[in-house]
Symmetry: C2
Subunit: 401 residues, 2 copies
């Protein structure tokens, strides 16, 4: 029987490097192996009780559609949250999305038509590749170097890549997968570039709370000269350990963009209703203590990661400045193969460690082949065990080559 | 300050005819007016207790990501649900989506590249227009006539619109907004066409349970000769009165398509976790009695609608065969204006009635201008009040022209 081809975008869309090894992990579990998950940014911290209390208060009724732009109470509480960082926005500048994922895809689609280009700095959050394929946007990658702490390259290197199809520059700050936080001067430089070339600046600030060693995160919303060009994509997934709620938001002061976002949102009707009630109460009840305890927990985990990595031969890594990821060069030819091997061929006392191969975090073919991303989202003892197993695995893998 | 243009798709995407009057409704409420909502398919029936019980059992922990394809228990329970209609599918044929909306957009994107065409029969669910804009797919509408009960036009009229860019035929069965249910013979005819022309058949079967007067709904999954061509889009929103859960699913036996769907799904990580637990328990606990009580309730509401409409001069309507919508021709020039006027200028004892103008349910410009869609989702007394007010409004509106 002849069957029609699937679409090119269906064929070409990248498998998530974070999720593509999932079937092998499932097989390992079936064989009785337990897995330390350093491959995915799934925090182990309980979702705050305020979320569950709000869910309880909204049960046993009709679970109804909400407004396409999101419920007013949540949009208001998000404004209060931003005001803690000195950022003044109105509820009309906020649209609730189904996860940060939808915030990114809507931002790409509202700024770009098929074939248009967005400049981004690799390594970047791998799923930008997928969103770009879905929206038929061409990501133009500029490689940021580990030697430079994964900070921005010189201005000319950025501007030289701008064409008449370039509609935006996309940053992830703090960065997933490197943990780098852009400085004020870097944001100011980007603000200057997007103004001069009349393009948008899109910032994924999902990890904005996670800044270590006393650093302050600068938001693109703090630069009034790009008020009309700035689009922030955000999420409660990591902030409140609520990945399964699928709730994020867009912030922009640009009315035309917001009108487009709302029309996109009308097509998919609304974001999840219960999650919005839960998120509203979490935003309302959050305290400085909540955030500082979370940040110090992750900073401590980062320090443990650094300690453990120092004991491994032949690897190269930097000290992450924020978020909860590190991109690490390891002495193997292909980390795709190594990460799979850890699941299929290696274990210590019934345990193995899962990491994300970094190739998918690049848009330039061939880059990242000898790198992995580690998400340090487990508590101290599990982190140490996971890294010991990774170290032992790496030794055995290299010996077997 | 110069600001960059937004994208054409951001500019051109249609406002939802179901939701675009929402700001006027909000204003009316602020003025103290209460609204009967016949504009949106938001059932008033409580979400089953099994949903809430499952949510309770999964509270007070980490609200974590689930698998991109959906949790296994839900995919299994959906297979059991389909088996009640004599349809045999495996969990591997089922992917959970974020609402039926995502099921439609993924189906468009996996079968079509930008510029490709999908044939559909207008009037159709308005948001197909939005999804087509987002995925840069061209909808090729064939107008179905009220005289023909909104059933399919002759075969040649369909095949004459197939070009080398046509990748699929899209149906909504039972139909939103007309309530028409395609016969076995019609589905067989479509199966024959998609086989002859080597294209896909996409069926939105969200209302598959809602068939009146003893009718049986035929699914495209029941035609083995198109096993590789058939994609069903489904949702729990109406089946279990759970619109705010944002949970739907795709069913296809085509492995290449499923691989593409899963990769699309990996990009957005996963559908809402709590909703999946709730849906699993609803599917597991559903009984024939549940479905028959729901169907008889909506059939009764349809009968009330028919009764009330018969008392209104100059309108034209058909008796819907299923779903819970009716498309009605009314004696005004522009139902957009009339529907807005009902919110801004008319009320009876502090109440008004909101309907959806039908123009947005067509892809051909100029069609549907004198039609409205009514969702009969309110209980008997409210239905009658709502329709009395609509009737009075129509009289006054016409008198004032």
């Amino acid at each position: 029987m002849t069957t029609p081809n699937i679409s090119r975008r269906g064929d070409l869309i990248q498998e998530s490097p974070i999720r593509k090894l999932a079937p092998m992990a499932l097989d390992a579990v079936k064989r009785g192996i337990s897995i330390h998950h350093l491959n995915i940014g799934q925090p182990d911290i309980p979702t705050p009780i305020e979320f569950w209390d709000a869910v309880k208060c909204n049960m046993n009724t009709v679970l109804a559609y909400g407004p396409s732009i999101g419920i007013p109470a949540l949009r208001e509480s998000i404004c209060v949250y931003y005001s803690r960082s000195g950022i003044s926005i109105e509820p009309d500048h906020v649209m609730i999305t189904t996860g940060g994922s939808e915030a990114v895809i809507f931002s790409m689609m509202a700024t770009c038509d098929p074939g248009d280009e967005i400049i981004c700095f690799e390594p970047f959050y791998a799923n930008y590749n997928g969103f770009a394929t879905l929206s038929d946007v061409k990501l133009v990658p500029i490689t940021s170097s580990a030697e430079n702490g994964f900070h921005l390259p010189p201005s000319e290197e950025i501007t030289s890549r701008i064409t008449d199809r370039t509609k935006a520059i996309l940053i992830c700050n703090p960065n997933n997968p490197t943990g780098t936080i852009l400085t004020d001067a870097e944001i100011a430089e980007l603000a200057d570039i997007v103004s001069r070339f009349n393009i948008y600046l899109l910032a994924d600030e999902v990890y904005r709370d996670f800044a270590f060693d006393g650093r302050e995160h600068s938001s693109i919303l703090e630069y009034p000269e790009i008020a009309e060009r700035a689009v922030v994509m955000d999420s409660i997934s990591k902030r409140f350990s609520s990945c399964g709620a699928r709730l994020g938001n867009i912030v922009t002061r640009n009315k035309s963009l917001m009108t487009a976002f709302v029309k996109f949102g009308q097509a998919r009707l609304c974001p999840p209703t219960l999650s919005q009630y839960g998120a509203t109460e979490m935003y309302r009840s959050m305290t400085d203590e909540y955030f500082s305890s979370i940040v110090s927990k992750y900073q401590n985990r980062r320090d443990i990661l650094m300690e453990e990595l120092h004991g491994i031969d032949g690897i190269f890594f930097l000290k992450p400045e924020g978020a909860f990821y590190a991109t690490i060069k390891i002495p193997v030819e292909n980390t795709d193969h190594f990460a799979a091997w850890m699941l299929t061929d290696f274990s210590v006392d019934g345990w193995t460690t899962m990491v994300a191969p970094a190739e998918g975090f690049y848009a330039t073919p061939g880059l990242g082949l000898d790198e992995i991303r580690i998400a340090y989202v487990l508590e101290e003892n599990r982190m140490r065990s996971a890294l010991e197993i990774l170290k032992a695995g790496l030794q055995e893998y290299r010996a077997s080559r």
